[in-house]
Each structure stands twice: as structure tokens, then as C-alpha cells.
């Protein structure tokens, strides 16, 4: 059995090769590695991968061409998931990326590759149509909207739970991290949904959508 098919778009050669090696090592099937947005679109059209790992900043302008290519990929190839891969957290980029839906979308800091297992499981989750947002992305998105917190009256613990939900974690994982019982987490989640006026849901994606809904309402 082969793992998810991957296309990597990263302009720094040392990272591109390292990433390809790492993913191959973890059982992914690396179909192509490219260095800019146009090449990414071409490679996706050719290989129809399950997931692409895309650097935000690539030639020729070194601003957001990776992001724009990723948004195009999400729009034109719904079967291809996208994991943005960046040295910076830029909440506006994350918001633009998630505007088209959170399914099959990830945004991770490049630092996360140091935790090989976690990184590859996040990539696998995204490839399977899930979501993976970097804790840094979430904390910035939640943290930069203090008005939202005060308006919806979330407690500190509820915001913690919300952040982890946004990362795409399950209730059990959140319970383990916070060292509380799964029941307590469920109560927090129900309370968050109630305060945001959203019906409870078991799907991770809908939970992320709830987070986005919350962030957009701020």
C-alpha cells in the first residue's frame, strides 16, 4: 500500500530536498518537487496528488505567490488538499486560505518539521480531508481579536479549548493535553457552541468552521 501522493513546492533547495526525503521516509509518495507557484499548478495538473506542501513565499516576487497558487489548487482541484508551509505566521494569509473552507487545508510553521511524527501525521490528516492549523496561527488569530472574546464572553479555558479545536484536535486529544476528563472537554465545547450560537457537531471540520465563524464574527 502506498501512502498519500504529495507534491512539494518550496524554493529553498535544501528544504525542498530535505522535505522530500523526510516524507518519503515516512511512507508518503513524493510525486514532484517544484520551486514556484506556476510549476506547482502544472505539477498538480499532471500528478493530481492527494496533498501539496506549499511554501508561502516563492519566486518571482517572494511575497504570497505560494498562497495564491494554493488557493487556486483548492478551487480547481477539490481532490487535492493543501498544507501551507511558512516561516511566519501571517493571520491574514491563514484567513484567506480558510475562506474557501477548512476541509483539506493546513497551515503550519516550518519549525514543525522538527517533530517528524507530528508533522507527518498532520500532513496525513490534511491529505485525508482534515485540517491542521499551527498553534501559533490559532493563538494569533484568537489573540488578535480580543474584542471577540469579550463580546462572546468565552472563559480563558474555553478559549484554550477553542484554540485546540481549531488545530484540528479531537476532544480526547484536548482532554489529554489539558489533563482533564473527556467529559469536561465536551462540556466546554458545548458551552462554546452555545455562546457562539452554533449547534454542536462531532465532525472535526465543522468544529474548525465553528472557530472560523467565531473569528469572522469578531
Amino acid at each position: 500500500m502506498t501512502g498519500p501522493r504529495v507534491v512539494i513546492a518550496e524554493d529553498t533547495a535544501i528544504l525542498r530536498e530535505g522535505l522530500a526525503q523526510l516524507l518519503a521516509d515516512r511512507g508518503f509518495e513524493v510525486r514532484a518537487t517544484v520551486g514556484d507557484g506556476d510549476a506547482l499548478l502544472a505539477a498538480v495538473a499532471e500528478h493530481r496528488p492527494d496533498v501539496t506542501v506549499v511554501d508561502v513565499r516563492m519566486p518571482p516576487t517572494f511575497t504570497d505567490e505560494g498562497l495564491r497558487a494554493a488557493i487556486t489548487v483548492r478551487r480547481e482541484y477539490p481532490g487535492t488538499a493543501v498544507l501551507m508551509f511558512s516561516q511566519y505566521v501571517e493571520t491574514r494569509y491563514a484567513a484567506r486560505l480558510l475562506a474557501g473552507g477548512a476541509a483539506g487545508v493546513g497551515y503550519l510553521l516550518k519549525d514543525r518539521v522538527a517533530d517528524v511524527a507530528e508533522f507527518s501525521s498532520a500532513l496525513a490528516r490534511v491529505a485525508a480531508g482534515g485540517t491542521a492549523l499551527d498553534p501559533e496561527v490559532i493563538s494569533q488569530m484568537v489573540g488578535t481579536s480580543p474584542r471577540a472574546a469579550s463580546v462572546s464572553g468565552l472563559t480563558r479555558r474555553e478559549r484554550e479549548v477553542l484554540s485546540m479545536m481549531a488545530e484540528g484536535r479531537s476532544n480526547a486529544a484536548i482532554a489529554a493535553t489539558l489533563v482533564v476528563s473527556p467529559g469536561a472537554v465536551e462540556k466546554h465545547v458545548a458551552s462554546i457552541f452555545a455562546k457562539l450560537g452554533l449547534p454542536p457537531s462531532e465532525s472535526d471540520n465543522r468544529r474548525v468552521l465553528a472557530v472560523l465563524h467565531y473569528l469572522r464574527s469578531s
Binding site: I14, L19, R26, F62, Q87, A114, V116, A117
Partner: protein
């Protein structure tokens, strides 16, 4: 003879001083006696003489152009022609100003003892016909040149008076007996044989006898002794006008320059930060991510993790390779960080410009020697600019000149610092707009510095950067 010239009183006063301080008085007396024979006096007289017709012509040109232009503009019907004439006025103003400046620089030598004669800002044309007309109509130096030509009319009249009365009349008086004798021989006695030119407002001189005629040369001598000082007085007035109208920069121009240089400084800073960020992002940061990745993988191999790892010999070998790669990557990242840090602020600069330049010269691709004489430390900004100028100039030498040797020199006095980079290469370096040297010139201009290039074909090339000691 009932005229007593001020110069005679001056001479009397000088004699009074002589009694008190013989040495000083002797110097004054020597100066007074030598002045008529001094080269400077003659140059000044020539300068004033040449200025008279020039001023007359310039005055008429500017007056006619300006007045006609203004009148046409006021009539509205002829506004286009009027504007054209006013434009011509500023063009003429600039042209005449250049001629006058050239005359002053040529004949007066160092025309302004309180500094060199800086030309006004060059004319900056606008775009299109309207832009060009607009730029001409707003051309400050052009208008000031026109003003100078108009105001110079009284100076020209005074020049005429000073030169004609003091110099010409002085000579005429000095040689008067000869003329008198000739006239006597031709016309017979009891006539007033040779006219006395007398531009003084009061009194007159009546010549009735040989004894009277012999007294006239004394007056001529006095006039000749006074002539250099009368001329110098007029030159002083002219210098004052030149200083006000033909050189220097009025505040508005200075403000414009400062605004441009501030924009330059801000852009430079932004560009520097952007470059540093780019270097970090693509360099050390990327390498460290790779290092973290390799170490993460290695840890998994050693722990027997991963989808098909068992922690066996193969995994250990692979882990060792990964650690080796990570080690290499970490060292490369360190090198990159060090270079980057040095690019932001060379640590050697902490010990002074001379030491930093010595390091720079030692690292130069083309062998370079350093001569440094910087007794007073400039401000850090100046040191940094001087350092990076030297660095870039040495890079230029290595890249473009084909030189075998280079020399860096830096000298400073109490107020200014001069950096020069010389090479024995092919020469032909020019300060081209948009070029690297022009970029350097712009950067030094931010702190009121200047950059000059001397690079004849075949070399040697000398680039000189003058900076104030304090930014």
C-alpha cells in the same frame, strides 16, 4: 589744490599708527605702497572693467525680456508669448549668472575668501513642454541670476568710476607735465593746454604755470595709491551680491535637498531591512529548519520509530548520516549569520574606523594598503558610511578595474573626513545616473558628503569621499 582725498587721511592715520607700533606700521605702509603693483589689484581692475559691458548687455537683455514678458502676461491676450519671454528671462538669468561666476572665478582667483564658489543646483527639467516651461518659471537660480544682472548696474557704474577716476586719471596726472609740455609747445603759453579730468563733485584745479603742472603728479601718485582700495571696495560689494544671488542655496533649495536625502535615507533603511530579512529567511533560517528536520529524523531512527524502523544497524547508520548533515548545516548557518551580522554592523568598527578599514583592506580580493590618520573619532553614522563606502569601492576595484593593487586612505581633521580608494586598474569609471557610484554618492549626500571620481582611461582610478566628521 583744494582737494584732500580720504586716502591721504588714511595715509596720515597710518603714519600716526607708525609712531606706536613701528613694525605693524611698516607692514601697512608696505602694503599701501605695493598695492598698485600687486597682481591682485590689476586682476580686480580687469574684473571690474570686463564686467561693465557685460553688465550693460545683461541688464538690457533681462530688463527687456522680463518687462515685456510681465506686461504681456498682464495683458492676458499675450500670455503665451509673455510666459515664453519670462521663461527666456530665467534661461538668460542662468546663462548670465554662469558667465559672471566664470569671470569672478577666472579673474579673482579665489573670489570668495570665506569658501569655494559652489554653483547653484543644476537645472532639473520637467516632463513635456509644459513641465519644462513650469520648471523654467520656477527656476530659482535663473531668477536670482536675472536679479543679479539687474542689481549689478550700480556696481558697474561704480566700477567705471573707480577704474576710470583712480587708475586712468592717476596715470594721466602722474604723467601730466609731459602732456602739459607737449600742449605748451603746440598751442603756446597762457592757454589751459591740457584738460584736467576732475570727477570729484566739488572744486577744480587751475593750471597756470610749470610749478602748478609739476604739483599734479603728486595728486596722480595719491590717486594711484588709493586706486587698488577703491577698486577693492567695489569688488567687495560685487562679492556680496554674488554670495547672495549667484552661489549658495537659499533655504527652499536646501529644504528640497534635505527632503530628497531624507527620502533616500528612509528608502535605504527599508531596503537594508528587507535585504536582511530576505537573507535570514532564505539563508540561516532555512538551514536551521533543515537542521531541525534532520535531527528530528535522526532521533526517530535512533528510537526505532518511523513506519518501518526497528532501531537496527541500518537505522543507526542513517541516523549518523543525518546528524552529520545537521552538523554541517548548523556550521553553515553560523557562517551565514556571522556574515549577515557583519553586513549590518562590522564589529571592527567598535574599535574605530582605522581598525575596521585595516580589516577590510586585509580581506580585500585585490591586495590593498591602508593609510589612516584619524585623530578624532567621527560619529558612528559617519564611520559606518565611510566603512561601507570603502567596502563597496574595494568590491568595485576587484570586480571592474582589473587592478593589481589598491590603496585606501583616510584622513580627518577637526571637521571633515576624507576617504580615498585608489587603484592601478584600467580606469574609465564614471558617475553614471543609476550606477553603483551614483548610489554611493546619494548615500553620502544624506549626511552632506560628496563623492568625486577621477578615472582617466588607462587609470589610475581615484574615488574620493568627503564626509563631515559629525552627521
Amino acid at each position: 589744490m583744494n582737494c584732500m582725498h580720504p586716502a591721504q587721511r588714511t595715509a596720515a592715520a597710518a603714519r600716526g599708527t607708525a609712531a606706536r607700533t613701528p613694525a605693524g606700521a611698516r607692514a601697512v605702509a608696505r602694503a599701501v605702497l605695493r598695492a598698485p603693483l600687486d597682481r591682485r589689484s590689476w586682476a580686480e581692475a580687469a574684473y571690474l572693467t570686463a564686467g561693465v559691458p557685460l553688465t550693460m548687455a545683461g541688464f538690457c537683455t533681462v530688463l527687456i525680456l522680463g518687462l515685456t514678458g510681465a506686461a504681456l502676461c498682464a495683458s492676458l491676450a499675450g500670455v503665451v508669448a509673455g510666459l515664453a519671454l519670462l521663461t527666456a528671462t530665467t534661461v538668460a538669468g542662468r546663462g548670465l549668472a554662469t558667465v559672471h561666476r566664470g569671470l569672478a572665478a577666472g579673474l579673482l582667483g579665489r573670489p570668495l575668501p570665506d569658501g569655494p564658489l559652489p554653483a547653484p543646483a543644476p537645472y532639473a527639467p520637467g516632463r513635456g513642454l509644459l513641465g519644462r516651461v513650469d520648471a523654467r518659471l520656477r527656476d530659482g537660480p535663473g531668477w536670482r541670476g536675472a536679479c543679479y544682472v539687474l542689481l549689478r548696474l550700480p556696481v558697474a557704474l561704480a566700477s567705471l568710476y573707480a577704474v576710470a577716476f583712480f587708475w586712468v586719471t592717476g596715470f594721466y596726472y602722474l604723467t601730466y607735465p609731459a602732456w602739459w609740455g607737449i600742449a605748451q609747445a603746440v598751442t603756446g603759453p597762457r592757454q589751459v593746454p591740457a584738460p584736467i579730468s576732475n570727477p570729484l563733485p566739488a572744486g577744480g584745479v587751475r593750471i597756470a604755470s610749470w610749478s602748478d603742472a609739476l604739483a599734479i603728479p603728486v595728486l596722480g601718485l595719491v590717486l594711484l595709491l588709493a586706486a587698488p582700495w577703491a577698486v577693492r571696495l567695489v569688488v567687495l560689494a560685487d562679492r556680496w551680491l554674488i554670495r547672495r544671488l549667484l552661489t549658495g542655496r537659499p533655504l527652499s533649495e536646501r529644504v528640497r535637498e534635505l527632503r530628497a536625502s531624507r527620502a533616500q535615507a528612509v528608502d535605504d533603511t527599508a531596503a537594508l531591512l528587507r535585504r536582511v530579512e530576505r537573507d535570514l529567511h532564505d539563508g540561516a533560517q532555512a538551514r536551521l529548519v533543515a537542521v531541525a528536520m534532520q535531527l528530528g529524523l535522526a532521533r526517530e531512527k535512533l528510537a526505532g520509530g518511523g513506519p518501518d524502523g526497528d532501531g537496527g544497524a541500518a537505522d543507526v547508520t542513517r541516523a549518523r548520516e543525518l546528524v552529520d548533515a545537521a552538523h554541517r548545516g548548523a556550521k553553515e548557518a553560523l557562517t551565514e549569520l556571522r556574515d549577515l551580522a557583519r553586513g549590518i554592523h562590522p564589529p571592527a568598527l567598535d574599535h574605530g574606523l582605522a581598525e575596521a578599514l585595516a580589516t577590510l583592506a586585509a580581506r580585500s580580493a585585490v591586495p590593498a594598503t591602508l593609510t589612516a590618520d584619524v585623530p578624532v573619532r567621527p560619529t558612528p553614522a559617519i564611520e559606518t558610511i565611510a566603512y561601507f563606502c570603502a567596502a563597496e569601492l574595494l568590491t568595485n576595484v576587484a570586480k571592474h578595474s582589473g587592478a593589481g593593487r589598491a590603496a585606501v586612505g583616510v584622513v580627518a581633521d577637526g571637521t571633515a573626513l576624507r576617504l580615498s580608494v585608489t587603484d592601478d586598474g584600467a580606469g574609465g569609471a564614471v558617475l553614471r545616473p543609476g550606477g553603483g557610484l551614483a548610489g554611493l554618492a546619494q548615500r553620502v549626500a544624506v549626511v552632506d558628503g560628496t563623492l568625486a571620481v577621477s578615472s582617466p582611461g588607462g587609470g589610475p582610478t581615484v574615488v574620493t569621499v568627503d564626509l563631515p566628521l559629525h552627521a
